[in-house]
Symmetry: C2
């Protein structure tokens, strides 16, 4: 039952949000003011979250999908007294969000930035702001919760039973990614997932009547969700009843549709003006008066509000976590191996000896597509790393990402233990769901064709920004796609992915480079990676005659050198074009040209090597250079210099069998040799 203290607590949050935005002279006050009562009810009465250990594995997850309402989250984290966590998952003594942080909202280095940033402020479960990402990511968290329960719960040890809550705004609900995620969540019957739809019907251009008049509740019923409505966001008891209805529902995800008022209590209530700018000092005072807050006190927090949080969510969360820890200690005695898995996973470590599972591939001129090699490595690795799991956006048979060993199975509503997700033709949600699984400390991957990475870019970017080891697997990586034509042939996608800070992009040249790529990416703890794989077979190189594939770890390495050791020209290539470089090398060698071939599977790793190493691979004195890649040439000048040549794609592709395309677009040994000869001639 709602008390005066509840009301005071809610209004205290509203006051903090207004003040933070006002002091910053920038930010979003209106959304927090509208939804604060529901967020408060959730945190205070339901959320199972221990502020003393914000990374407790079985905590409920709270996602603020309408990330512009960050001031709400900062206020909650401060009032709850959440502790900070370091990047290696140690809980620290200091609070996550101090009052000073709140006062420096949106200033450089404040723990209260403009939008919630994972890893920067503990208690933030995922970075949000780009709309739709939070809710889609929450589906991945709910999937992870179900999978963890299926794998690790034992009779008297229900180790994993957390719920996942996300607050979403009208903008979230308009984004396609949320539709994709909701459809899949309904299909998977994720009873542990609750979206709270903060329907204030106000967006930047005006009332949603101008563009968004669909019946959202009906839509979610069509997806197979449980839908319940809160007619007035200020009715805490109604919100409580709605959340009880979620708790009572185990077969379907729940949408709580809340009718709210942006900028509640302020002069700009229900207006777009309440969205993205400070209210102004006068309006702040007027609103505080309306809310019963002292109008001349900034950042007003009565002691009893702190106490209310401590006695509510704090006490409940602490008790729950302590009980869980005891349970886990007993579990460890009975199931030491499973307990070890859980603990390793939390630290983002892998089982001992996981590298022993990696195969090697014998030399084979006919070879194997790198997607096929990757599928084999993935299957070997997944047996050594039980929490390596994932799915495909309806392309597993093509991307070769299905785990096919006995017992791998499908993750479905009737079997939560499966290792293979059918994500549907929903690339954007697929990537966000993988992010959500990674945030829950699983090692997830998802896959599609490289061309369709475009559909998922915003979610891929978030994996990089959050520094989480999501694996993005992209096959059909070039005009090698063949007759499907230019709509399916990536050209600019490699450059686009390489331009993204913090993403490691690998394009292995043969099966053993695939193995070494997996060796690197499996070990990543704080970085996402993109694996870029061929549709067509690539020869498996004879490593007795060429450098070992372990050079992949350096990002780029000398694959072969002329007997003299003094190359006239350097050929650089990635993926399928490395074999082409070797073929051109043979031609050139026969003509007396001394050729070095450099394989460059991962630019980002190469750029991290010492200056000395990079100069060894690409000696500054050798200016004659040709890069070869079936992709946009953008960026290759970094390695070939402005005098070097790039044999690449300058247009979109075409629909034809691969051999015809290679001729049309000039990916032939003759063309590469000619470019090399021209380079040598120009640089003598």
């Amino acid at each position: 039952m709602t008390t005066d203290l509840d009301t005071l607590s809610v209004n205290t949050i509203r006051g903090l949000c207004m003040d933070a935005v006002q002091r910053a002279e920038s930010g979003h006050p209106g959304t927090p003011m509208g939804i604060a009562p529901v967020a408060y009810t959730l945190w205070q009465r339901f959320l199972r979250f221990d502020p003393a250990d914000p990374i407790w594995p079985n905590r409920d997850r709270f996602v603020l999908s309408e990330g512009h309402a960050s001031a709400l989250l900062w206020s909650l984290l401060h009032l709850t007294g959440v502790r900070a966590v370091d990047p290696d998952y140690e809980v620290l003594g200091r609070p996550s969000v101090t009052l000073d942080d709140l006062k420096t909202y949106r200033q450089l280095d404040s723990r209260c930035p403009g939008h919630p940033e994972y890893r920067w402020t503990s208690g933030v479960e995922t970075t949000t702001g780009p709309l739709g990402q939070g809710v889609a990511t929450s589906v991945g968290m709910a999937v992870a919760g179900q999978w963890l329960a299926a794998r690790y719960n034992r009779g008297s040890f229900p180790l994993f039973d957390f719920n996942v809550y996300a607050i979403a705004g009208d903008g979230d609900m308009m984004e396609g990614i949320s539709a994709e995620a909701a459809s899949l969540a309904g299909h998977l019957r994720l009873g542990n997932l609750c979206w709270i739809y903060d329907s204030n019907r106000t967006t930047i251009e005006g009332h949603t009547d101008i563009t968004f008049t669909e019946d959202v509740a009906e839509r979610f019923l069509a997806y197979g969700w449980n839908v319940t409505t809160v007619a007035d966001a200020n009715d805490l008891d109604a919100a409580e009843r709605a959340l009880h209805s979620f708790h009572a529902e185990h077969e379907r995800p729940t949408l709580v549709l809340v009718h709210s008022h942006i900028g509640y209590g302020s002069p700009v209530e229900d207006s777009p003006k309440a969205h993205g700018e400070p209210l102004g000092p006068d309006a702040v005072r007027e609103t505080k008066r309306f809310l019963g807050l002292p109008e001349d006190t900034d950042f007003y927090i009565p002691d009893q509000v702190y106490e209310r949080f401590a006695q509510g969510i704090g006490a409940r969360g602490g008790t729950a976590r302590t009980a869980w820890q005891s349970r886990f200690d007993a579990y460890r005695v009975q199931y030491p191996e499973l307990a070890d898995e859980i603990e390793r996973m939390q630290r983002r470590e892998l089982p001992d000896g996981w590298q022993d599972a990696l195969p090697t591939f014998p030399a084979d001129a006919k070879g194997i597509a790198s997607r096929d090699a990757s599928g084999q490595v993935l299957n070997a690795l997944a047996q050594a790393v039980p929490w390596l799991l994932g799915g495909s956006a309806d392309l597993a048979p093509s991307t070769k990402t299905r785990q096919t060993f006995p017992g791998a199975g499908d993750f479905q509503a009737d079997d939560r233990s499966g290792r293979n997700l059918h994500l549907g033709v929903r690339e954007h949600a697929a990537a966000a769901i993988a992010n959500g699984m990674a945030l829950t400390k699983l090692r997830p991957y998802w896959s599609t064709f490289l061309i369709f990475s475009d559909y998922a870019r915003a979610a891929i970017r978030l994996s990089a920004l959050m520094e989480i080891p999501t694996l993005h697997i992209f096959s059909h990586d070039s005009i090698g796609v063949g007759a499907d034509g230019p709509t399916h042939q990536p050209v600019e996608q490699l450059a686009s992915l390489r331009a993204m800070p913090g993403l490691l992009v690998f394009r292995p040249a043969d099966a053993n480079e695939v193995v070494e790529t997996w060796r690197v990416v499996a070990g990543l703890r704080h970085e996402p990676a993109a694996l870029v794989l061929s549709r067509q077979p690539l020869p498996t190189f004879d490593r007795n005659r060429l450098a070992p594939a372990s050079g992949v770890a350096m990002g780029g390495y000398v694959l072969t050198d002329p007997p003299s050791g003094n190359p006239d020209v350097i050929l650089l290539a990635t993926g399928s074009e490395v074999a082409l470089a070797l073929a051109a090398r043979d031609e050139l060698t026969a003509d007396g040209v001394a050729v070095r071939v450099v394989s460059m599977p991962c630019w980002e790793l190469f750029d991290r090597q010492s200056h000395q190493y990079r100069d060894q691979v690409l000696p500054p004195a050798v200016r004659a250079r040709v890069a070869i890649e079936q992709a946009s040439t953008l960026g290759w000048e970094r390695y070939v210099g402005d005098t070097g040549a790039v044999v690449g794609m300058h247009t979109f592709g075409a629909s034809a069998p691969l051999k015809q395309l290679l001729r049309k677009f000039g990916f032939t040994p003759e063309r590469v040799s000619q470019a090399a000869r021209e380079q040598v001639a120009a640089n003598i």
Copy 2:
């Protein structure tokens, strides 16, 4: 009523699709075989389309959103006898698709590539293949139809009343972009739009039961659509009734949900095996036997099938088009100016004297944000070019793309004449809708923040692949966004857009460069462009002391040179960083360093200039070069060489006021000057 000849016609199409795929030994036979009867019914009994003039402005539009079923479209275009059209919109004598083209399906230079390609094969209304794009684009076509009707129809001259049909598969329906587009289409009550949902419930990973179990019909009802069902795709009369229900419905878009069987009649009916590979010669024979086709004749087309098409769609379309032409001739007499608009639009020309509308901006040290300058230019231009219209993904007040002059108004269900669309928080559909409007010969733009171009990349790509002049307007183009932080600060987006073939990316440096940018992009006929604009004010340069902004047309130009004309160092920059380059130049000049500043608003245009011009701007002898851009450095080596320096972004941004960010990330005159001095020292 269905006749034997109808059945024979449908099965002829199926035979052609099977044979084309079989001969190509690659392709997608199953989907065409399943939906052929409905496509046939639509074309034969409803589609108002004259094969003798496939670009007649009032033709019904047909979009094959499930583009992998291209063999179906190639068969229809061949049987209908559609004529070819050249890139400048002249109808040619030769057919669009010959029998030889069908026989060379998916071979190099065949008019029948793997997926429908706009401009390559006439009769293709939009390029499809990436799922969801076709249906979303169809919404733009329907919007355009309504707008054209509102502007040009007069009492007895209903010039524009065409319908837009799209056939979509399960994959289309799973993609978020289609959800966004359907929501908006429902809101806008596009009664001229009909999606035919080819529900064969089979995707690459298997039956849709594994991932897609929502109630699509209910979902579309929630969007406000009219929904009708065809229980059996082979029931032509049922399809006819459904399409009549669309014709009878004027207030809502219509979804015709068709239950179909992938690979109908073949041994792999209802199996994913029917999706993406040839059936095999034996199965083809067996299927032909089942369908009553001669099993040993490839590409069998009875004469009466050709005749059926000629007497059906051909005769109906010809009559309609001839009648329309007479109507238009009379209209031209009565409304010569409106008729002139329509004709210019069809040729992608602009009204005479449109350039007179462009403003110039006086020098102003305080300046104006380039988004604001763009808004002013757009408003001036839109008054001169009535069919320049567009909208924003809920950010018009921020991107400054609203047309605010009297009478501009909103495009809504109750007023189709408005020039401003409220596209909602639906970036991906927004871009595709703009494409659809461009395909209907309007000059559309849409806008969002640069960071959210990521959400729309796949549709932006299609504008480039189709070579249509869609304008993509992106504001908030760098860390200049400020306190919203890294989720909202683009870093890699510029490089990503520049990597895309055929897209002109402009980042103007001041208000007059904005004017010149609009001068270029307004005149584009066959290329899309991206306008990349600042949130923060940029000084308007004093062009008496600097080169004129008309240099924008060259992509890059010398803005200022040292008095000697012999620079020691070249500073290159775009957008907001040009002012920084000028500030650094002042510092360096005071120190006796001779500096050239080059503004590079559009790399793509610069790269098209003569070698001589490029060497004039960037003399090979001047190796000391510094590029400055608040973005990923990827690609700048092309202009600064491998010895040059780039002051750019190497990480994601941060949440803080802009001044703090400029210091943190090193965008200060001191840092640029220092880099320049180092360059000069290293290159002496």
